[in-house]
Symmetry: C2
Amino acid sequence: MTKYEKEIYDIISHSYSHLTAEQIYEILKKKFPNVVLATVYNNLNKLYKNDFIRKLSIEGMPDRYDRTERHDHIVCRDCGKLSDIKFEDLTDSIKRQFKNDFLSYDLKVFYICPECKKKRGME
Amino acid sequence: MTKYEKEIYDIISHSYSHLTAEQIYEILKKKFPNVVLATVYNNLNKLYKNDFIRKLSIEGMPDRYDRTERHDHIVCRDCGKLSDIKFEDLTDSIKRQFKNDFLSYDLKVFYICPECKKKRGME
DNA sequence: ACCTTTTTTAGAATGTTTCTAAAATTATTA
DNA sequence: TAATAATTTTAGAAACATTCTAAAAAAGGT
């Protein structure tokens, strides 16, 4: 792992906030003021390809990067707010159906977060 | 529902191929040569907000639109190819955990499709 | 030290999606 | 039905995220 790859990996694996490339870049700049956004993307892609990090695509927002430790997500359908949840582990069940022939899975539960419920006027 | 909203809804609900906005636009143009891509986006957003269609965000590809009928997806981690699968229904299970307070969920299973396996040289 | 490979940089380019303001259409009301 | 209001569509610009390209810098190997 190169310097930046390691740094970016550390940022993601110690964060619980599903950072965007831009946010990672901002964090990295504090320590390495000369680093460039393309470097962040390069290393994110490399880390993702090698399964060191997860990549989350939420409809209508930039991609977010996450630690690989098994957990699921709940997403507000109105504002896109993303939080961690831990739902039952489906690995074995999926393995059974696909005869081990899968890498990972991604479960997203959609809801309306309390703030957006207020906005919508549905208490 | 307006004319285009209805047309777009029909295209999506009769298709099993997870169309992009661009693809829907191309289909629509055959019947309405003057329609414009922004109209497609407007109506897709409206349909999505009102829960008439699903929206699928796959890492590194344009959003895709899908019928709401319950089913899941399997995605090739290398090329992004998307196919329908039907995994056990998790609705009740999630309902139990979230006390009915959720709208829907989205399960994506990642794998390497046969073509990409060949490319990678892993038969 | 020299050559090779990999990584980073800088900035342009690409692709998707949203935005804006005007025009067209549809619905409402008098 | 004419007048007005509200909604939808258009056209094109703009925004935003991400990738690409070529050169420079850094790291690795002999």
